[in-house]
Each structure stands twice: as structure tokens, then as C-alpha cells.
Symmetry: C2
Subunit: 328 residues, 2 copies
DNA sequence: TTGAAAGCGATACCAG
DNA sequence: CTGGTATCGCTTTCAA
């Protein structure tokens, strides 16, 4: 069963390869009869065009690259789902690269991908902000990170999100909301903190540094330990906590549980991201939702458009929203 | 900045393209001086070999396809991580295809991928067992599904897993353990049930159909509803439950919580999979761990070997293990 | 050790 | 409407 090529088809249909190509791509009008004849041969032989050869000629591979920091993180996964949904529908495949929060892997992927066979790149950067090689010839869109350079990007308004979360807490509890944050060098965490401060200010509260705890990593463990530290230095638990992502919130909840402080009675808590686990917990976590799937879709769409219409790079900003559940 | 090709390099280095190719691939000995000269030109021009052209010639694309039923399911994601870890280290990229538990998408991907530019395929099948097109010329390894046909596969001993879980419960509670299972048409669930029955038998218990509840979907909701149904028809909660996956177990826990039955005091529960959320819950879920990452790695390794040594297709069976936590 | 040239499997231009 | 052919960028055989 040697692979059948366009040549074989041409021969069997008694036409030139170019003619076969025309019917394959509908790129030129072909007399119905010949078209039929060719189609029949294709059918019979089970011919299937060779993508690689086609790509060599057209300079288009019909595949996009996606670089993510951690595919174990459901937040990114939902974005990927959005990307995939959009792209697969238009005949694109996606090459997935997991950097595992490892800068070297990231750098490596960046150079491999950019020089390999992808038509475009969607880039979800690792914690520390990296540089994109300058010699890029393909469009790239950045998701969820502010970046210098002329790239498209899709962002969520993290300042607003931080504000909404904090205000919600203030309105329900009227005082001292603590902040449990990830590394402030990561733009989303920085922005959420800004939102927190703005909400405080707006309601006439002072920003109290001893109420904010920065976790080394924005993870369950990070949140767990961070909250223990916070509780250790406070005379009593804060009335409420804004955790800058759900995983930290979950870790914080465990810490609270272990210390015997009841949620939300003694201290309320709101998270950020709305990951699936948040709604499964008992009590279920109140949180800020980011339209992750839509973000992925949008990123894919922007990339697609840049490719089709060589549209200019642009930015798109999504709005987060509050999901009230049981913790605050 | 027009793309520089091997031709350009050859020209600037005053050699033939073949010579450049030789140094690129280390495929023939080249006089050190010429090699240096060529390398220098490559450096200066920033030349990077075109993968597509190379693939066309070599018939190898250095990319593998991976088809998964649901990338939102952490179980599959950890397998993917294993695959990625292994493959990326040997210079392979992976094209990820998410079928979303949709058979048509799956069929579609199967035919696209198999005819496109991948060197091998790792296939995690959707719930319903599909057929792999017969005209496959590339190696395929199946993960976590029994399949007819001459494909490699990596499996976990689900019968054993079901047995371990059930025995653990029996040994701690000594009686009537209920089974909350997913569709029995899916081989892993079928096997776990067999393990359950064997454990029962081994300990002299009768298999009681009214103690087993089959959920429409093996999800949180499925488990939640399934358990409510089970409780509805029983005069009192079973002493223990073996839930055939963690998501169902979590749903069951919520149902139990809502009915005011305490875990594990009144009814103990053990899940299956050991997903991250399982350990985060309060109480933390006792469960059966599957070596997901290793499974992915192994699958990748088998594929890799089939490619390298044209090794024969084979099967590999992993052992599950019990993780005792707080629910049982 | 090096080079010329064939060819991988398609696309698309230019003639007819 | 159809065909011949150059070409995409590389690998590899064969000869020098």
C-alpha cells in the first residue's frame, strides 16, 4: 500500500497533475466530466493530499503553536479549550508546548516554534516575563500578560476584578479585609492588588500593609502557609480575606479550618479565577470569574484574523465578574 | 529579512548545498576548515533549517499526535504531561487533539491526523469504543483502553484497583459496601466493578445489585445524583461506598453532606484516580492512585521505540495503589 | 572531501 | 478548460 500521490491520480485519470490540483483546491474551473473522473479516481485509490508537500509550497502549515506555563493548571486548560474549539473548526491543528513554569523550556520552545512550521503563536507566558525573539515573522498573540512589543494581546481587567472582590467584602463585612496575593512581579497579581487598594480607598479605609500577605507561589500550599503566617501575626483572624486566586483561597480555607475559624461566619473569603474545584468545595467558594474559554477563543480569533486579513495587532480586554457562593 | 535558505548559506560559504547539509546533519565527514566556514556563515545569517522541506524529504516530521477525550479532565492532563515530558526531550513536538468526548470529532481527528504529518499517535479514546481506521501506516499506542487490533497499549490493572479499594473498605467496616460506578460499557469501569465483586466474594459477601448505582456520566453531577438515588431507595446509608472515580466520589460526598450523613463516621468512601482535588477536600478523599504521569511517559517511550527500532507493538500494565486519607 | 543533480509531493504560472 | 513545468528547501546518491 504505497502512498498514492497526486501523480498517480493524474495518471489514472488521464490528466495532468495540475488539473488534479485544481479540483483538489477548487482553484480553477474544471469541466464537470473531468472533475468527476478525477474525483472517482481519488475515491478509488484513497488518495489523500500530503500536507507537508503542500506546506512547502504554500508556506502555510495550518497549525498554530500554543505555549502554556502549566497544563496541569485548569485555568490555562480552559483557555486552551477555547483556542482549540475555535481553531479546529477552521482546519487548524495546534501544537501544544508545556513550559512547566520553566524559563529555559520556554525560551527553547519559543525559538523552536518560531522557526518551525507554525503559522501563528499564542503565548501564555510563564511567571517571570520573558522576551520574545525579535526575529519573529509570524503573528503572535499574548494572553493574560502585559508585554512590551508590538504583539496582540487579550487581557482581563485585573484591577477591576480586585476591586469588585474587595468591595463585595467591604459591603458585607464593613472592615479589615486582608489580601492574600501571589508574587507581585506577575502583572495580574499586581493589578489585583491595585484594585484592592482602590476599593479600600473608595470606601475610606486605610491600606494596612500588615493585612497583606504575599505568598511565594500562588498555589494551594502557598496560600495555606501564607495564611498561617498571617494568622500568626494577627491577634485575631481578619473579618475577611481576598485571595488573589482560587488555589490560594483553597489553601487558606484549609488553614482556617485547621485553626478552627469558621467560614464565612468568622472570616469570609473570596477567591479569583472560578476554577471548577471552587464550586465543589463545602462551603463553596465565592470568587471572581474570568471568561477563560472566551479568552482562548478570542486569542485564536485574533490570530486567525491577522493571518487572513493581515489585520493589525490589537488588544482585547475582558471584564471579570463576581460569583457569589457560600464563603463570602 | 527574507528567509535564508541552505542555498544562501552554500553560496556565501562557497560550497555546494550538499556540503552544508552534511555539516547540518553530521552525516558525512567534512574538512574542519570548510565546516568552520559554513558554521560561521550559518551563525552570521541566522540560518535555520526549514523543517517542512526536511520532512518532505525524510518522511519524518518529528511530531506526534495525541488524541484525548477531554483536556479539562485532570486525569488525562497528567498523562499528557508525561507524554510531553518524554517526547519534548527527544526533539518531538506534540499535536494535541481534544475530542471533547465527541465521537465525530474523534473520528475526524483520527483520519486527519493519520493522513497528516505525524510520525506516531497516542490515542486516549472517548467513552464509547471507536475503531481506528485500518489503513494506518504509523505506529499507534492506546492508553487506558482495551482495544482489538494490533496496537500497543498501556493499561492499569483496574480489576486489581477495584479489589484493593473494596477490600480496604471491607476490612475497615466489615459490611455492605456500595458501588457507585460509571457506565459499564467503558472498560475501566467494568473492570473496577469486577474487582469489587471479587473482593466481596473473597470475603464471603454476597454481591447485592441494589447496592450498586450506575451513573449516567462519571462526573461530579453524575455521582451526586447517583448517590441521592441510592440513598432514596435504601432505608439507611450504606456503611461505605466505593466510587469508581474521584469526581463521582466528590459528588457523592456533597450528597452525603446535604443529607447530613457524616463522613467517614456513618459512611466511609473511597474514590479512584487520585486527582488533585481529592487531597484538598475536607475531609480528604481516600482513593486509588493511578500512575498517570508514568503512563504517559511509558506510552511515549513505546511509541518512540517503535519508531526507532521498529519494535513490535506490545502492552504494558501498571499497578494502582491505595492512598489512605480521611474519608475511609 | 566535495559537488551536481534527482526527487520528495504538492502549487501555480504560463501557454495553448 | 487543460497541460507542461518551474519551484518550494532540503536530503542523498553517485561521481569526481
Amino acid at each position: 500500500m504505497a502512498k498514492v500521490t497526486i501523480k498517480d491520480v493524474a495518471k489514472q485519470a488521464h490528466v495532468a497533475v495540475s488539473t488534479v490540483s485544481y479540483v483538489l483546491n477548487n482553484s480553477k474551473s474544471v469541466k464537470p466530466e473531468t472533475r468527476e473522473r478525477i474525483l472517482k479516481v481519488i475515491e478509488e485509490t484513497g488518495y489523500f493530499p500530503n500536507h507537508v508537500a503542500r506546506s512547502l509550497k504554500t508556506k502555510k502549515t495550518q497549525t498554530m503553536g500554543v505555549i502554556v506555563p502549566d497544563i496541569g493548571n485548569i485555568f490555562f486548560v480552559e483557555i486552551i479549550e477555547g483556542i482549540e474549539a475555535y481553531l479546529s473548526q477552521r482546519g487548524y491543528s495546534v501544537i501544544l508546548c508545556n513550559t512547566n513554569e520553566n524559563q529555559e523550556k520556554e525560551r527553547n520552545y519559543l525559538s523552536v516554534l518560531l522557526n518551525k512550521d507554525i503559522d501563528g503563536l499564542i503565548f501564555l507566558a510563564t511567571s517571570k516575563n520573558p522576551e520574545i525573539p525579535q526575529n519573529t515573522t509570524i503573528p503572535v498573540v499574548i494572553v493574560d500578560r502585559k508585554f512590551s512589543g508590538n504583539y496582540s494581546s487579550v487581557l482581563v481587567d485585573n484591577v477591576l476584578g480586585g476591586q469588585i472582590a474587595t468591595e463585595h467584602l467591604i459591603e458585607r463585612n464593613h472592615e479589615n479585609v486582608a489580601l492574600l496575593t501571589g508574587p507581585l512581579t506577575i502583572s495580574p497579581y499586581f493589578d489585583r492588588m491595585m484594585g484592592y487598594r482602590q476599593a479600600l480607598e473608595k470606601h475610606g479605609f486605610e491600606y494596612l500593609p500588615f493585612l497583606v500577605e504575599q505568598c511565594g507561589t500562588a498555589t494551594y500550599d502557598g496560600g495555606y502557609q501564607g495564611l498561617h503566617r498571617l494568622l500568626d501575626r494577627l491577634s485575631e483572624p481578619p473579618k475577611s480575606i481576598f485571595a488573589a486566586n482560587d488555589m490560594m483561597a483553597l489553601g487558606a480555607m484549609r488553614a482556617l479550618f485547621e485553626r478552627g475559624v469558621s467560614i464565612p461566619k468568622q472570616t469570609a473569603i473570596v477567591g479569583y479565577d472560578d476554577i471548577p474545584t471552587a464550586s465543589i468545595m463545602t462551603p463553596a467558594l465565592t470568587t471572581i470569574r474570568q471568561p477563560k474559554f472566551e479568552m482562548g477563543q478570542k486569542a485564536a480569533e485574533m490570530l486567525f484574523n491577522e493571518l487572513q486579513n493581515s489585520a493589525d495587532s490589537q488588544s482585547y480586554l475582558f471584564q471579570p465578574s463576581l460569583i457569589v457562593r457560600e464563603t463570602g
